[in-house]
Assembly symmetry: C2
Homo-oligomer: 326 residues x 2
Amino acid sequence: MRGFFIFTLIIELNDMSILTVGTMAFDSIETPYGSVNKVIGGACTYISWAASYWCSEINLVSIIGDDFPEDEIRSLQQRGVSTDGLVRMKGKKSFYWSGKYHNDMNMRDTLVTDLNVLADFNPVLPKSYLHSKYIMLGNLTPSIQLSVLNQLPIKPKLVVLDTMNYWMDTALDELYLVLRKVDVLTINDEEARQLSGERSLLKAAQKIHSFGPRYLIIKKGEHGALLFHNGLMFFAPGLPIAEVIDPTGAGDSFAGGLIGYLARTDDISFNNMKTALIYGSTMASFCVENFSLNKLKNLSQEEIYIRLEQFKDLSSFDENQLGLAN
Amino acid sequence: MRGFFIFTLIIELNDMSILTVGTMAFDSIETPYGSVNKVIGGACTYISWAASYWCSEINLVSIIGDDFPEDEIRSLQQRGVSTDGLVRMKGKKSFYWSGKYHNDMNMRDTLVTDLNVLADFNPVLPKSYLHSKYIMLGNLTPSIQLSVLNQLPIKPKLVVLDTMNYWMDTALDELYLVLRKVDVLTINDEEARQLSGERSLLKAAQKIHSFGPRYLIIKKGEHGALLFHNGLMFFAPGLPIAEVIDPTGAGDSFAGGLIGYLARTDDISFNNMKTALIYGSTMASFCVENFSLNKLKNLSQEEIYIRLEQFKDLSSFDENQLGLAN
């Protein structure tokens, strides 16, 4: 019986490998609650940590300088993250971002962006990564995102891409090229409007489907997230948090929770995608409760379960009362 | 059996009278979809029309000039709205508001506010209104809202109050006085932060509960609405609409749908309040699909039912998948 259990577990693990590509960085952040200097950040870091609660085979692709702490790499490895695809460049510095949040926390100014090693980022996938089934492309130059997809010998089960208005402004043609190969696009509402040229999110979704992604997820920060799929819609609410200390990494934590849950269940139906948004929102809600990955690194199964229940309570109501007209 | 049915129906009607106080106005509106000049508007008008789909005894309190079309009054009366509390001032003009919406429709500029008859508004409740059980105080000077409540000989079952940042800036003391007598407050997120002095909506809700209202509803426009009640929360999503033609009156239509449903079911529990938010959101979603009350006046039971189902689909997901941790 025990042997059988181990056997099925191995099968399951093979099914659910995640490949994630993105930055690993130092962030300096100022929010109304305080400021931190050169803390650990980066899309790939947040994605990997958030996904690691659901998935134990994560293939990380990123680049760092020799200033990035070895401890951080080891703690990722202990979570089941493979760092075979992590390049450490000697004599160079890691990507650095500095930003300041305004009073309402929905707005931020970028103060410094030092590309450093990122300027040389040209990822080559290790052989062991080539059959990953779930691909999470963190926000990066579209040409790098595309080059990663082009290295995969067979079509993966699901490709999720995160991007931002900056790439729409500066690399739209490359973005279109990569979108053709993408199943799920995650952007915010203004970016959806910019990419589609449509004011209505419903119409924007139709247009963006025609670019490639059959799923569009519109991230609305504290207001939640909207999922569009061929005329179907789902709204995952944002959970009001007692103290939003630092929103940095919330979108990446959302993406990590989403792809982690999808890989774990190996089900990419619309129905399961809806639940995946709740898992993503849950991880994002933890992320914002502290600076850097301080909260995200130390979650118990129990507190995740309680938070998921809070999300359920937040949007459930008595449906039997619908259909009462005069 | 039939006699019994009629008897219970009469009881029900007595139970569910709504008293609504607010403006009836002319609006001139410019949106990216076009502009309209001196169309029918006003909080009380939107509230009454939206509530009339659920409740057949609405007691309206408002003031108009002799320029307000008699047809509009008659069509309200035909919906079961009593206009005994409507004052028409001879030789004076109705309240006039003109505004322009920006491209994203979440922002608007007020171009003109002509108080006209509103400057003399000092409502005296007709005797037939005095035992109304559900009170909907539309956005107005807090002192007028208070004077209406003070005329009621017994405490009504539920008092809902809508207000805005303008009254927080100019009449905060009077607003505090009226809030003490209010069960449900509807404001937007920035107003909740201003009124409470708290950045977190969770903390804002706790503070606002201490001012009087045991229910706080935060209206977020296209992002939906949040309900707070003694540490409990509910998020009613915003339904993406193909073409938002004109957001004017959406908040009042929300309030009308909410109080109409509550009066109809005569149940002010947290559980039923959640469903009431869905009804409110449904009426708001119709309101924005056309200028003025053009859409709100001509709804069939079937299209309301379909819309309510869309709201249900928008937020329902497979809860059995929650609680899946590594």
